[in-house]
Symmetry: C2
């Protein structure tokens, strides 16, 4: 939807705070109130933004082996966060019961199943994995890692992936 994509562009170019109904309307060349034909209110607009983000972030890669698949997921999510730093924080704050959120969960769960994690454990493991990755990406764009250099943050990310992969492997023998 035009309204959502322009809202995302506005958030990227300026700040999330700059995404006001009036500013968005002006960008689209319509009146503020015209927006309410497309979204029911501002919360709905922000939900749409989150959905757009998730859809962009999650790229299924079923052809890869599980460690690469997990790494690809994490890398895509991180890249999306950096592309849309002001919208990304909304991801953790809005309950993600949407289609795109479900797809993200499935992507990890499939990788875990591939790795050989017992089916009754995949859900739990998937939650922990996605939480850690989300936490990292959010911290990075929110400025919690500002004291670190870019290469240092990259190294941190690599270590995170390593630890997560190891923890999966160690659970195969349990």
């Amino acid at each position: 939807m035009r309204v959502l994509s322009e809202a995302l562009a506005l958030a990227d170019e300026r700040e999330l705070d700059a995404v006001t109904m009036a500013a968005l309307a002006q960008r689209l060349g319509v009146t503020t109130m015209a927006l309410y034909r497309h979204v029911t209110n501002k919360a709905d607009l922000l939900d749409g933004l989150v959905e757009l983000l998730l859809a962009e972030a999650v790229q299924p890669a079923p052809q890869l082996a599980w460690p690469e698949r997990l790494a690809a997921f994490a890398t895509d999510l991180r890249a999306t966060a950096r592309r849309h730093p002001s919208v990304f924080p909304l991801l953790l704050e809005r309950p993600a019961a949407t289609a795109a959120a479900r797809q993200a969960r499935d992507e990890i769960s499939l990788a875990l199943a591939d790795a050989g994690i017992p089916q009754q454990d995949t859900d739990q493991m998937q939650r922990l994995l996605s939480t850690a990755i989300l936490g990292f990406a959010l911290s990075e764009v929110a400025g919690r890692f500002d004291a670190q250099t870019a290469p240092q943050r990259d190294a941190d990310f690599e270590l995170l992936l390593e630890i997560l992969t190891e923890s999966i492997q160690s659970r195969l023998r349990a």
Copy 2:
């Protein structure tokens, strides 16, 4: 400061959105503008709230062995999140270069040093650990785990601690 503690109470009793300068002033029995004698603006007020939260969360426990110390840190942080669910999300969104934030970092770093992690690795490890714990606590209070039962979330938390502890141990032999 009275202003901050009442703001925190207000946020706990109602929502973060309910913490408006007018509402806070009314609770304190003063005019809205009187607040500006104590905080320079609303952002400053929210920063103060975050600081208050961190100070409450971080309880150094130097007498404990490192695994228990790490667990205590994580448990305290999680408990604080649940006590102040509406303010907690601000933690990840505000760059924590404050005194209380530094103390939180030190608490983990000391545990890592205790465990025998080489000094040049403790900072990185500390960042990853605190990020994972913060991500979990935030997800929980933000509603991302609403589909799970309370015992399930507790089990998730236990597994998180287990994974983190294991990853520290495996790094001792590397």
